[in-house]
Symmetry: C2
Subunit: 403 residues, 2 copies
Amino acid sequence: MKHNSEHFFCRKQHNASNRLLLLPEDESDRRLDRLRHSMAALGIHAGLVSGNASKFYLTGRVFVGWILVTADAVTYYVRRPVELEGDRIVYVRKPEEIDFSCLGSGCLGLELETMSYSSVERLEVASGIKNPGNLSSALRSARSVKTETEIAQIARSGEIQEDVYRRIPGLYRAGMSDIELQIEIERLSRMSGCLGQFRISGDSMELFMGNVLAGDNADTPTPYDFAMGGAGADPSLPVGADGTVITGGMTVMVDVNGNYTGYMTDMTRVYKVGNIAPLAEKAHRCSIDILRMLEKQGIPGAKASDMHAAAEKIVNDYGLHNYFMGHRQHAAFIGHGVGIEINEAPVIAPRSRDVLEAGNVIALEPKFVIPGTGAVGVENTYVVTSDGLKCLTNAPEEIIELI
Amino acid sequence: MKHNSEHFFCRKQHNASNRLLLLPEDESDRRLDRLRHSMAALGIHAGLVSGNASKFYLTGRVFVGWILVTADAVTYYVRRPVELEGDRIVYVRKPEEIDFSCLGSGCLGLELETMSYSSVERLEVASGIKNPGNLSSALRSARSVKTETEIAQIARSGEIQEDVYRRIPGLYRAGMSDIELQIEIERLSRMSGCLGQFRISGDSMELFMGNVLAGDNADTPTPYDFAMGGAGADPSLPVGADGTVITGGMTVMVDVNGNYTGYMTDMTRVYKVGNIAPLAEKAHRCSIDILRMLEKQGIPGAKASDMHAAAEKIVNDYGLHNYFMGHRQHAAFIGHGVGIEINEAPVIAPRSRDVLEAGNVIALEPKFVIPGTGAVGVENTYVVTSDGLKCLTNAPEEIIELI
């Protein structure tokens, strides 16, 4: 690695700016225009952006407040922090101070899929508007096609994450448990600049810094809608490492937080100690075969459901259907959009209606759980281009010996 | 410390149980009865519990699904994980499969303050019921008074967190930045059993593993509703450590994740290198004076607003008003309930209507920001008893030399 990421991250490099808008004006305009286009398609005349991820998308920073976007204007209503500077900022203490007069009889869009019912009710009263439009849908669509600036930030996260994954074998010591190894990976990730925060849209999924699965723990069903499971260390957070001591013949799947820039990559590699069952080696080759195939198939216009079906065909040809995307419990998707949050559009699943567009960034994770051995399979993050999928998480894909 | 927390946490100690109900039956009944009492006071005839924190409260585990609670029955509707066992479990794929016939013309309570608007709309259609009651309010009230079992879990988190804080000076090396020190504290916490997940109710606040503030970074306003600020390492997560190198004359305030059992303690201690300004020493003594006073005042029946006013009186007597709960930006509370989430009831704030009850668990954090030095003050977690506040985070309170 050329960069000294530890030094870069852990020492102050900048003076915190008081500018609200941390994006260049043209980049901000580009994102606003994407949102306006999506709003227009849904018949939304004004959108009130409220979520942290969406505000970060439009401004380059998180603040507490709202952004009111219309076809020809944008206003930043800020509650906190104090002292932000820039154009079109209005400081308010409560949503009742937002000026909705621009709206007339038009449709107000709100983030209905993430805003609480109580917050929406309050805004309905404040704005005098009923039947809000689904701004969540417009934002998901706008954010699903990344700008060049966004792709550069995701690619930068990928470069750092590649380096972290290459250094994982050096963290292993004989006799370690999965949790002990995970803690060393967490430390290395953080020292390399990982911000820690793992943004997931919605409130039903929880994960701390990712998932390290050793041996048969990979076969423990999780409640959460992740591709893989694991019992976790406590029933209050039932996913991932459970204290299994890593021993010979076992795989260790590492799928950890790649948020190094506010934008994340999603990446999985598999490690092992000694020889593992031939069935597990075969399933891992199948995963790589699926990725090579989807990398070509994944051009603009490709249907997500067709991609999932093509992957399943390879799995069936290998005779591995019982182990694909889990064994005791199966996940219903093999890929998902990634960016500011880990679960963006498009979704690569059997019943998905999504169609790939140039500039989508997706993670593909065809994985298997082999009883008696553990989880295998590779996950990479890709940007969709006219030539197919371009990989942003380049590191060796074979199963790597921990010692 | 007597316990070997590292071994306890990092090695598998148990077989994951397939029982849905991980609480003893009488403990589960006790919590259901608390909720039913709160529901009755709000005129709610049936409550559909949907949040992960609330499901953990009622069962001892997180699952994806819903719990339907009526005056004389409870049903667990489970989507995931597969294979859970026990009484009154119904596996469903979607909320439309929930049987609301028990409700009649009664009021259905939903978690309106955390459920998304879209989810509530869908349930209104599924249940045929309009005007849902505010089950969030009933749950907040029920959960604000902890059972003996809950208090034991919080106390256990406190014991481990005390040990971690005592070992912080041993992690410091000259020339470290705040982020580098925080990463070592994170590792020590995790090796000692910290689960990592930092549960905050609502979606506007974000924090990763807590807040380490060195020097003047403590005076940088944050958007989030925490007691203290900090620029953070990136504008996508603008709170906490920013890479400031720790040098002489500076304080380092440590306020990190105490979730060791699914229940957390909240605890702050201050460290320093060399001598700091007398004003900062004075403000730290003021914080300890406030805690000693509130520990006596905090008996069942005490008004939260009176407690805040009594703290402010001491601050004014010290002449420290300009620095109390921040300097460039001021927080509006000095304490809050803590348990499964970091922001539970009651809230100790000027306009709070909360009144202390025996069994409340609260964190009190009278803090100051002294320009040129940094943040000072102590935070402890307490259980409310008839004798006043009993401290669950016992460790030396004076400002501790890092070397």
